[in-house]
């Protein structure tokens, strides 16, 4: 008999196995994120160079308070850069953001899910489970390695998107609550990591439950789309309405406190303290007579008060973290369910 080689234990063994087994999958995942990142980089660099060449780069970042006459007159020119008018620039910024929300799903769908399905379909995971690596380590090795690589890709894509979006959406007028919008909120590096890990966890569960590549891909695509919809249109608004700031706001002011605060809702109270309805407000405006100022000035002169409920810009990162945390907890549950399912069927 020949000598037995002692193989390094623990993480090193797992890392080596993961590399040997998953290197092409890792390459595919990085490829998906890499292509999206490179497209944004190329576009952004070209736009930035154009802004520099036209002497209007100082208009960035997209802060309405930075805008001087040169910036305003240049907006139409920036629109021409993209496709000839600002409408197409809007398409570029907005719809690119919508498309990019699908990148985690595409990476999981083509980078991770087919490989996972093959693993479960052929039963090769059973081979691994009776080697020196425990099912727990195997789960970490397969899901963890893919999710970590994808999450790294998501961070890079999120950072580049943030930079790109500040340039690309500039010509199509300012969105005061930039960063809070459903699509941009989901593409911040933090939230994007949450969605990416969630996509891979959902892919793992789909693969473990169905064990056939094409049906598992279809089930994953449908369920991810549903979860994305619920996350963006049900969960996000509820998160953003937690513990808002309520403050007085001067009539005519466009922003609660900072140009990037999230305005939730506002109302006006009468000198008696009761909330003025829209009908009452219209009646008041009708009684302004020959008052020379604005409606806001008239209301202020008559001791009406404007209130606003909002989330300060400083909380944006906290809410993105909260969203990512919810998604990571859901991901952990999905992976646990997948491993239990496999154990029950093995």
């Amino acid at each position: 008999m020949t000598a037995v080689a002692a193989v390094p234990s623990g993480a090193r063994r797992m890392a080596r196995m993961t590399w040997l087994r998953h290197r092409w999958t890792v390459a595919a995942i990085l490829g998906v994120f890499g292509v999206a990142t490179l497209v944004l980089l190329g576009e952004g660099i070209a736009m930035r160079a154009w802004l520099d060449a036209n002497g209007i780069a100082h208009c960035l970042p997209t802060n309405p308070e930075n805008r001087d006459a040169a910036c305003l007159s240049a907006e139409s020119l920036v629109g021409q850069f993209t496709a000839g008018n600002s409408g197409e620039a809007a398409f570029l910024a907005g719809d690119t953001a919508h498309l990019l929300l699908a990148v985690p799903a595409v990476a999981a769908l083509f980078g991770g899910l087919p490989w996972l399905t093959r693993e479960f379909e052929t039963g090769s995971f059973r081979y691994t489970w009776v080697q020196g690596i425990s099912p727990r380590r195997w789960s970490l090795g397969t899901f963890g390695s893919l999710a970590v690589v994808a999450a790294a890709g998501a961070v890079v894509l999120g950072v580049v998107f943030d930079w790109w979006y500040r340039i690309a959406q500039w010509p199509v007028n300012v969105t005061p609550d930039m960063g809070w919008d459903w699509d941009v909120f989901g593409l911040s590096p933090i939230a994007l990591v949450g969605w990416t890990v969630f996509a891979f966890a959902l892919a793992m569960l789909s693969a473990a439950a169905i064990r056939r590549t094409v049906p598992a891909m279809a089930a994953f695509a449908a369920s991810y789309a549903g979860c994305l919809f619920l996350g963006q249109w049900w969960l996000r608004p509820r998160l953003l309405s937690i513990a808002p700031v309520v403050a007085r706001q001067s009539f005519g002011s466009f922003y609660p406190s900072h140009w990037n605060d999230l305005w939730l809702n506002g109302w006006i109270t009468a000198p008696s303290g009761h909330v003025v309805t829209t009908a009452e407000l219209l009646k008041l405006y009708a009684g302004m007579g020959h008052f020379s100022g604005t409606q806001g000035q008239w209301l202020a002169a008559h001791h009406y008060v404007s209130w606003v409920r909002y989330q300060p810009q400083s909380r944006l990162v906290l809410f993105q973290l909260a969203m990512a945390l919810v998604l990571l907890v859901l991901s952990a549950s999905l992976v646990l369910a997948a491993v239990r399912l496999l154990r029950a069927r093995s």
Partner: protein, 292 residues
Amino acid sequence: MNVFEASGLSKRYRGTWALRDCDLAVPAGHVVALIGPNGAGKTTLLRLLAGLTRPTAGSLALLGGGRPGSDAIRNDVAYLDQQVPFYRDLRVRDMLRVAGAMNRQWDEGLAQQRLAAWGIPLRRRAGKLSGGQQALLALTLAIARRPRLLLLDEPMASLDPLARQDATGVLMTSVAEDGLSVVISSHVLTELERVASYLIVLSGGQVQVAAPVDSLLAGHRALIGPAGDADRLAGAVPVIAMSRAGRQAQALARTTTAPSGWAERPVTMEELVLGYLREPAARAVSIAEVAS
């Protein structure tokens, strides 16, 4: 030391008992033949031993007290599933590297030596090998881990006679040189007869026979006598199975001597196993009973 001990071991799948109340204590160093009809619970017992599934009731301890599938004994137990599940898209050499990376002990030299002897090309993808070559590769991957307990579920089914003989030889060498214990499930009785030193017969999810082969063969006789005396024979010695052909009857009995009027001869393992399989009600033969 017992290579495994089971007490009241039971496993249920969706309302059906695959194993029920199994008590076993198998000493180390044996090649254990695990035999039974389809659905008897052989694969379930092997998967329980491998830690791939957990018992519904009862206890199971390996290699002196370890829990199947636990980190403490994971590196000491190798399991070869009848479906030979490994990474078919990998080349053989990469499969060796993956197996080496996954185990604390790995005998690369032994693996290379076996594959070369069996003519399995290292550059070919595992999935492109013939069924027999895949079985030999899987066996190589299991043995190169240098386990203390090797669990084999129908490992030779796809092998040609020559490869089967080679594989058996490799197994026996490991048993002799390394003190390896093997549990091998197979329907090919002649193949098991050559290598097994311990026999477990399962029937309907319960243990029918569990004892060393030598003790069992020494404690059983084939009795040949007049068919008319067959009923009286059952009162004189414990009869496991009886067959009649014309005026003559042949019985498998748990005895060492023949009653008057009956001729006796030693039984083969195949006769013993078939006798028990024909009579599932004939219950477990313990080591103590056989020895007495």
